[in-house]
Symmetry: C2
Subunit: 272 residues, 2 copies
Amino acid sequence: MRFAEKLEMALLRSCVCVGLDSVVEKLPSSIQKDPEGLLQFNKAIVDATYDLIGAYKPNFAFYEALGREGWSVLFETIGYIRKVSPQALIIADAKRGDIGNTSKMYAHSIFRELGADAVTINPYMGRDSVLPFVEDPQFGAFVLGLTSNAGSVDIQQISTDTGFVYEHVVRKALEWNKHDNIGLVVGATKDVDMRSIRMAAGKMPFLIPGIGAQGGNLESAVMLNFNGQYVDALINSSRSILYASSGPDFADAAKQATLNLVREIQEIKSRI
Amino acid sequence: MRFAEKLEMALLRSCVCVGLDSVVEKLPSSIQKDPEGLLQFNKAIVDATYDLIGAYKPNFAFYEALGREGWSVLFETIGYIRKVSPQALIIADAKRGDIGNTSKMYAHSIFRELGADAVTINPYMGRDSVLPFVEDPQFGAFVLGLTSNAGSVDIQQISTDTGFVYEHVVRKALEWNKHDNIGLVVGATKDVDMRSIRMAAGKMPFLIPGIGAQGGNLESAVMLNFNGQYVDALINSSRSILYASSGPDFADAAKQATLNLVREIQEIKSRI
């Protein structure tokens, strides 16, 4: 199935994306604090949330930090999602990008070996660092546009005669989007910027982190992206769902936090 | 030991860096074509070259592409280098970078779990994506400045009132360099650009890929960076060394190719 279709179907179910940024130190007391425990935690989170979400987004750093066993846990987590919820979109939050022959290897790793549907990509190295991820219309890439962190001012927000650097990235992403399988990562922390990037990006799908622990503005993200004209946005929440409770009820609490987010989004949409 | 000192000592031995971009398909006929064979190949390359080089640079994409076993091969390769040549600088060519708390996880993975000395970093997300990699003066980061691939025109070479985007990156890198442990990745494929980035970067160390298979200009790279004023540059070669022969003499051929590169650099230096 083409990525554009997979994304559309995921969004028909739910625009919520759960970021699987799981860390051993924050595992609930009922779970052993090691890579095995982390996998068990991820499985419980998936079981509790899969019928409320459109996508999962494991952040690779959190698995690589586990050392030797990290990639195994990542493989097992993705495999488990596929088993429990074959229709969930899996976005590898890997922020990869390198020269052409190297990006090709990363693409093989992420789509063919790990089995993700999409990946986050850093555009600093330009076209040949991005294109290997979107050559096959089955898979997609979310290119970093404007991120929600403090450092986004350093490079992304440099001003040029033809707009900010991130606007150049948006234009390039539109140009590279031959198979309708490129989206943009756009942080939810700045209203004004999200409006400007949405204007530049047209109907290109957004992946919006920064809701929840990072303090992003859910209301304006929803208002801007679900106004009937633009409907392709995944809203990611990680820590607020994963760590909704540190007790043995963590899975129920994660389910409740996800449901609350779904309802909150519904409520905002109803006011558009 | 501080990274600045590790790098200085590595450069006193040799400015050659061998890129361990090993792929199963290109393994010599005498070696089995699987992850185990790839590790065996890496070990033979290290045995053949360690007394001629200053650094090794495994490119993570090539290990991740091996699937589940990839990270194990990476761990074993780094462990083997440490055993055979404790003084060799190990640069994790991972091109990582994410929001602060995530970059911290990547830094833990690369320095503490894998045991590398330095990492390549993509600066698009700005300060909090870079600083976690250079907080500890023992470890270093090479920030992507101007790369040698075709796509470098797309973002890096966007022109602004105060220079190209890559010049902004250089200025930021200088600003972030409190512990003398930041360097820049500068492709060897464009003479003029290397001169301009060297002027902007002062004495900041360069990691120069693009020599050999990518067709970079060794002569101008050496002329510019080893003229008595600037001496901090590592010159990377990958494919021309790894695949110097596809026969059972691959290790000898790799040694000879490394030696030829060392001699060629010496010869150019002697003409400065």
